[in-house]
């Protein structure tokens, strides 16, 4: 059985402008020790899906209105608040986007690193401190003894993100959710941090969901990829399939918009045309239709279902078999 199994998850926000279907029937699985990427532009529902797994959707206005989330044999949506609290930070760790603000400025690194171990595992302060030192060594920080006494403002962004990773790993979780872990970092540091996360999760056998809009990250670090658009998964498959044989116009457009070394220096970037749709005003048809170059009349009648096209590669597009020419242009 899969470690995490999300089925038909629906999370909605009830606002004065209408009901926002931020996550609209998302299903995916994460196997033990596997790294799954969730890709999509801002507002596609990738972070809301992650927050739904943690059950940290703020009510009001947000609410999980349907579906199920099975984690390690437990239905997370059926747990009490207390039971859920004992899973957060212990079985599921989370890494946030902004290392500058996801650490508390008034608590020392040592206090923040040991707190989850003391709270969840009932470790003594001394034992937790010992483990904290080991964790800091694991994430590649020098002089762990001195670091433990320091405050976040003593550290640079990259070092803080290392601390955040150490915190996520502190209680030996089975799953780590990384919500755009490198977006706020310098490009050189990004690679270091991603490399570190990849090595640590492989070594410790921790599964990871990595949320990103960077397809380069996907190609290099993820086993499988889910591409999200307007609250739905529109394509999923192993990373090499997504990268080399995209079968959805949106994935294709995303790949085209990545800057590439093999193009002319003066060549313009190729952005995805148009705007993401207003999630309060979705109709019955495919939500990518207005921006899609392959759209036909029948795209307006119903939303295409995710169909298996072999090898666990699925795509939700009526025209998925008619993309070949452009795929060749992009992938080469």
């Amino acid at each position: 059985m899969a470690l995490l199994e999300i089925k038909d998850l629906q999370t909605q926000f009830f606002t004065s402008a209408g009901t926002v279907k931020a996550v609209d029937g998302v299903s995916y699985t994460v196997e033990e020790g596997e790294t799954v990427a969730v890709v999509g532009e801002s507002g596609s529902g990738k972070s809301v899906t992650a927050m739904s797994i943690m059950r940290l959707i703020p009510w009001p206005p947000g609410k999980i209105v349907g579906g199920s989330i099975n984690f390690d044999g437990k239905d997370l949506l059926a747990l009490t608040d207390d039971e859920m609290r004992s899973i957060r930070g212990r079985d599921i760790g989370m890494i946030f986007q902004e290392p500058m603000t996801s650490l508390n400025p008034v608590l020392t690194i040592g206090m923040q690193l040991t707190e989850p171990m003391i709270a969840h595992l009932g470790m003594s302060e001394e034992a937790a401190m010992e483990k904290a030192k080991k964790l800091l060594g694991m994430v590649g920080m020098s002089e762990p003894d001195r670091r433990l006494a320091q405050y976040p403002h003593h550290l640079s962004g990259g070092m803080r993100q290392r601390v955040v990773i150490a915190m996520a790993l502190a209680c030996d979780p089975k799953l780590i959710i990384a919500d755009e872990p490198t977006t706020a970092l310098d490009v050189t540091i990004q690679a270091q941090i991603l490399e570190l996360m990849k090595n640590l999760t492989r070594e410790l056998g921790v599964a990871m969901i990595i949320i990103t809009h960077n397809l380069g990250v996907v190609a290099r670090y993820a086993d499988r990829v889910n591409v999200m658009y307007a609250g739905r998964i529109i394509e999923s498959g192993v990373a090499s399939d997504i990268y080399h044989r995209p079968r959805h116009p949106y994935t294709l457009a995303l790949l085209k918009s990545v800057p590439r070394m093999d193009r002319q220096r003066e060549a313009k970037l190729d952005p995805v045309d148009g705007q993401p749709p207003d999630l309060t005003k979705l109709d019955a048809g495919c939500s990518f239709r207005p921006r899609c170059r392959f759209a036909k009349d029948h795209c307006a009648t119903s939303f295409p279902a995710l169909e298996d096209i072999g090898g666990g590669h699925t795509s939700a597009c009526f025209e998925k078999d008619n993309l070949d020419k452009e795929v060749k242009d992009v992938v080469g």
Binding site: L56, P60, R85, I87, G89, F96, L103, V106, P116, Q192
Partner: protein, 300 residues
């Protein structure tokens, strides 16, 4: 293990530990905040007087010496005696104990309750916040002294009830200010991070959010001590506060002001000076704490 270690450049982002000796810091402080240091001196003087009162005077604050009633200030009685022959200097020293005890107790209880309620209100938000803030509005609608009087009228007089009476109007004041600061803190990702680590509401409020609103809290606290001393004196003066024969400045003022204003002005003047000086000292100190902790208000 093959992890990428932090680069040498990163490692250089170091803390520059402050190794300036204390006396030098004090000197810098005195130059930067002369007014605040003067206020602090008054506060320290008052605390000193309260602690060492028995060693600073040969008299007992409640001893009636009927042979020496209404003695003017002189060699035996530095500040004179009152209508019951009690030494005024002695009573002012012991009165500092009452003032400080009531001041700090009321300010501490009021500010701490306000801190917890204010942070909780911001943290939970929504309905809880709305209802809680409206209740605070009701309390804020009453002037400080009226609300305190109402509480004493209900509970009765005595030191303990005076503290409760002064505490109650402080809570909404503190809760309001703390809440507005905590609302900003609530939006910073480390609060969500704390929730994602599975911590309970109480732990997040007390350990993760409250320390981040310490600056406004301390500013309010020092202001509250001064206000509480003044309120206690007012209540005692009105006969609704500390009761005779406990030495309290407001009480001394009341005993002396009306009847002896002309014949023995020292009976009323000295406790009045003590009250003014104490409140003045705490306010100066509080202002300087605010200037130090809140850079936005620092003089340009």
């Amino acid at each position: 293990m093959t992890t990428v270690s932090e680069s040498a450049v990163e490692a250089q982002v170091e803390d520059l530990e402050d190794k300036t000796p204390f006396w030098q810091k004090a000197k810098t402080m005195a130059r930067k905040q002369p007014v605040g240091v003067a206020g602090l001196a008054v506060v320290i003087l008052m605390i000193f007087a309260a602690i060492f009162a028995p060693w600073l005077t040969p008299y007992h604050p409640e001893y009636n010496d009927f042979a020496n009633m209404l003695t003017p200030p002189g060699a035996d009685y530095i500040l004179g005696t009152d209508q019951f022959g009690r030494d005024i200097f002695t009573r002012i020293l012991y009165g500092a104990r009452t003032a400080l005890f009531v001041g700090f107790a009321a300010a501490t209880v009021g500010a701490v309750f306000g801190l917890v309620l204010g942070v909780a209100s911001a943290y939970f938000g929504g309905m809880f916040d709305l209802i809680f803030q409206r209740i605070m509005d009701v309390f804020m609608a009453f002037p400080l002294i009226i609300l305190a009087l109402a509480v004493v009228a209900t509970l009765g007089t005595g030191t303990q009830n005076v503290i409760i009476a002064i505490t109650i109007p402080f809570i909404p004041q503190c809760a309001r200010v703390v809440r507005s600061n905590a609302l900003a803190i609530r939006e910073i990702p480390y609060v969500d991070a704390a929730r994602a680590l599975g911590f309970g509401h109480m732990r997040i409020i007390m350990r993760h959010m409250a320390p981040n609103v310490m600056a406004p809290f301390l500013i309010l606290f020092t202001a509250f001590v001064g206000q509480a001393i003044l309120l206690e004196a007012s209540l005692s003066y009105l006969g609704m506060g500390v009761q005779e024969p406990t030495p309290a400045w407001g009480l001394m003022l009341q005993g002396g002001a009306e009847e002896y204003a002309e014949s023995a002005p020292w009976v009323a003047i000295w406790p009045g000076v003590a009250i003014s000086l104490a409140v003045f000292g705490f306010n100066l100190f509080g202002d300087s704490v605010r200037d130090t902790l809140d850079p936005r208000l620092r003089s340009r």
